[in-house]
Symmetry: C2
Subunit: 196 residues, 2 copies
DNA sequence: TCCATTTTAAAATGAATGTTTTAGAATGAG
DNA sequence: CTCATTCTAAAACATTCATTTTAAAATGGA
């Protein structure tokens, strides 16, 4: 029957994801995708369809792997404040220092609120993050009524950090701010107000 | 001598600004700028140079008018918390509900940290916002040593709100979160801890 | 009036875009 | 082997892009 597929789909998706993360959807040409994935445009069109499909698959993969993976990695089996802190700090640990930012954040901004190929995945990604924050806060203060406000506040901070980091804002200052924020949270939890 | 310029430069800059705000730099064609400004491409090239110059002028104008204007409007001659609150809430008051977001935020994400036509203006704009927050917090707690952390936290929240709002996140939830945040700040200021 | 300049409209340019097609080599199952 | 399929490479396509040029009308100062 048919010749079997030579390449693995997953590394191709990862390469496309990185490319979109760096240059956005509009800023990424098919030629750039050829370079990034090592596939010819023929193969890309053959296996995916068109550019939109590649992007959507890459974005979905980003949600499943990067977003969910990060949450899983930092927020499970650990005290919630510690987990949240390391989750936030992990945003600043891009290996090459080249802050490509978050594909979710970048897509949200690039496409806006109009109907687009990104809308559903962006909403789903934000929802995943917000729910993870909610769960962590519940573990912290099960009885407080303003858990939702705090979860949204964390989501907002999270997205803001990604914007500033992407723009080249000094990592050290962001790191200090994050640590300050979670130090304060630990202080509140222990009912000790340290700051006079 | 020469024929005088027929159009006013400022409305043209405003129109270009709105267009870039809605569609980004890459997503805005010269044709779109013709439509938005009412000028022919001939006039645009004649009066500005090229697309990069138009964008840079529009971004500078955004900093001077929109960013500085908003700060001036909300943070002067008013109690700082009240001013900050109304500044944050004003982000959600886009007239048409079509959240074009902030040209600064959008440009930061679109161009990233690489050297680009936007880098200087983006940094300048963020700095303006951060300094405004710093000043407001100083008025609030002149003695606290962690003013910088709080100013950066406000900047981060501010940018995060702009991302979420641009993506179509429900305005009401964002409004509640903002109000909750500044209610808490007023509480802290009065040294009354309301939340148990 | 004349000249320099600015306007618009249109055409032209050359490059890049996304996509399809073609041609040829490779591969696996029957 | 054969046939269907997949690969790469290349060409072809129509479209869009930013930009320049052209031509013609308008305008203001000398």
């Amino acid at each position: 029957m048919p010749r079997s597929i030579e390449f693995q789909i997953e590394p191709v998706l990862v390469a496309a994801m990185e490319q979109f993360r760096h240059s956005g959807y509009g800023g990424t040409s098919i030629k750039a995708l050829e370079r990034a994935t090592g596939l010819s445009s023929g193969s890309l069109y053959n296996s995916f369809g068109d550019k939109d499909v590649i992007f959507q698959k890459a974005l979905t993969h980003y949600n499943q792997m990067v977003v969910a993976g990060r949450i899983e990695k930092h927020l499970t089996g650990r005290p919630p404040v510690e987990g949240l802190r390391s989750l936030f700090l992990s945003l600043l640990d891009e290996p090459d220092g080249g802050s490509s930012g978050c594909l979710l954040t970048n897509s949200a901004v690039e496409f806006g609120s109009d109907d687009s190929i990104a809308k559903n995945s962006v909403q789903a990604g934000f929802e995943m993050q917000e729910k993870a924050f909610l769960k962590a806060i519940e573990q912290l203060h099960p009885s407080v009524p303003d858990i939702e406000q705090n979860a949204l506040r964390f989501l907002t901070l999270y997205q803001g950090i990604l914007v500033l980091f992407r723009s080249g804002y000094p990592t050290l200052k962001l790191r200090n701010m994050i640590n300050y924020e979670f130090d304060k949270l630990e202080g509140e939890k222990n009912d000790k107000k340290i700051v006079g």
